[in-house]
Amino acid sequence: MTYVLNRLLSVILTLFLITLITFAITNILPGDVAMMIMGTQSNPEALAGLRQSLGLNDPLLVQYGRWVGGMLTGDWGDSLIFKKPIAELLSQKIVASAIIVVMSMTIALALAIPLGVWAAVHRDKWQDTASSSTALLGVSLPDFFWGIVMILVFARWLGWFPSSGFVDPSENFVRALRHAFLPSLALGLGLMAHLTRMTRSTMIGILGQEFIRVARAKGLSERTVIWRYALANAIGPVITIAGLQIGYLFGSIIVMETLFNYTGMGWLTYQALLNRDMPLIQASVFVIAAVVMLTNLVVDLLYVAIDPRIRLD
């Protein structure tokens, strides 16, 4: 219980730090927001007016206070390019991205765990070489390249899945999944490659432990030894590693959603960055970091639930 309480307090502290870092990146770096919005050729008077109306002439601390205060009271401001409340935009887009994140993670784990275990069990044999080489190739390709291949093969040539657009799951659940499938698959394959490597090395570590030898000395079958004794120990570390990949995934969805015209968080963030929509940049960067951090928290708690060793702390 104290463990959970500790984690919660640390979450609040981290959220605070995330707002600080987000604000710092978007403000302390040289770069004039007003000029970004209006372009370098704009009229100085109009610039001054814009600065005034955005509150850019106030001290940074005041600006930071206004921003955090606004977020705490539910007023996240308006997007400059979409002319809509940011809170409303984000709440829509985050659902769209959640579908992709969950789908790609599911694909990745479902493929990576068996493949990684298989490689570890046949360590140094052809199975290992095959699986390791595939995984190595997987981590070496940029994921937008995968995306392009997916579009080419599954959308253009085979015509099985749509290559662009987002459908709200509340309107048509099946169509929503079909639209999310190709970007998820492209992300999932890159992720799978990484997770396969991690599962393999985790399993190799576990298979070298004494309790595995003890299990064999008890006369248990290899199937029991590997898929029960060893895997039960590997699942915690693998899930932790998978959790850490959430960050990577949220980086990649920016590229992938843009490529597939899938209007989620990644697409939104990209639009904000491209158009220098500062309030929207701040809000989406903050939300992505916060979501990544919270996911890691959930994964940690999951680990506590799985691994009896941590329960006592």
Binding site: L13, M36, R123, R156, V255, L273, I288, A289, V292
Partner: protein, 271 residues
């Protein structure tokens, strides 16, 4: 596996070696205007004797552009990673060796920074600084620093607990000398391995940034930009995407293979 290892090492070495050679010599041997020379009569032409890798939508020779792009890609990746090492190495070493409050504060900050996806961080920094070559390097370098500092700190912490460090302290060696003579040489293998793999990631990040138009700007022969440009002609001219894509893949694959083998050789714990 050992045979696979050495085969893997050899392939990695050949790939990395050829990319470095291409990176050095392509811009010397190929006149710069060849990369931008447009030939409107042969736009999007498939691979042929005249254009072994085909041409792009402006009729530019893809082989020339891909070769010229090698230096750009490597330059950005290596400089960015060196920058992150320059910041991350001393930070991580001091943090891990001395521990205490500084370590607590620094690592809390680093952990928080790690919640920001590296690509998002790089994109944001690049967008705010204004996308160009130099800012792309800064963006990637800054985005990779927390991760590197984390790794170095972990290694420094491990080495600081080794009896030979305690022995050095017991025989009156100063902290600076311990860091220099004992900690640094012992964390260096891990840093080298990490740097190799980070360069691979940096190449992917640069490609991603350019692909999104927030990295190097046209008409530079950047692999990411080339893939970006190919999007509209995928049906008619898939080679415009495949050629730069394969170039990225081969470079990153080579670096990853090389890094894996380096890890096996240098990292005593992997044995």
């Amino acid at each position: 596996m050992k045979r696979f290892l050495s085969v893997k090492g050899l392939i990695g070495l050949i790939l990395v070696g050829s990319m470095v050679l291409i990176g050095i010599f392509a811009p010397i041997l190929i006149p710069p205007e060849a990369g931008t020379a447009m030939d409107m009569t042969s736009r999007l032409s498939p691979p042929s004797w005249a254009h072994p890798f085909g041409t792009d939508q402006l009729g530019r020779d893809l082989m020339v552009r891909v070769l010229l792009g090698t230096r750009l890609s490597l330059e950005i990746a290596v400089t960015a990673v060196m920058m992150s090492i320059l910041i991350g190495l001393p930070l991580g070493m001091v943090s891990g060796y001395f521990g205490g409050i500084t370590d607590n504060v620094l690592m809390r900050l680093v952990d928080t920074l790690l919640a920001f996806p590296a690509l998002l961080l790089a994109l944001t920094i690049s967008a705010i600084l204004g996308p160009n070559l130099q800012n792309t390097i800064i963006a990637i370098g800054v985005a990779f620093t927390p991760f590197l500092a984390r790794i170095v700190r972990g290694e420094a912490l491990r080495v600081a607990q080794m009896p030979y460090v305690e022995a050095a302290r017991a025989s009156g060696t100063t902290d600076m000398m311990i860091l220099w003579r004992h900690i640094l040489p012992n964390i260096l293998p891990a840093v080298i391995v990490q740097a190799t793999i980070s360069i691979a990631f940096a190449i992917l990040a640069e490609a991603g940034l350019s692909f999104l138009g927030l990295g190097t700007q046209p008409p530079a022969a950047s692999w990411g930009l080339m893939i970006q440009a190919s999007r509209d002609f995928l049906d008619r001219a898939p080679w415009t995407a495949l050629v730069p894509g394969i170039a990225v893949a081969l470079t990153v694959l080579g670096l990853n293979m090389f890094g894996d083998v380096l890890r096996d050789i240098l990292d005593p714990r992997s044995k």
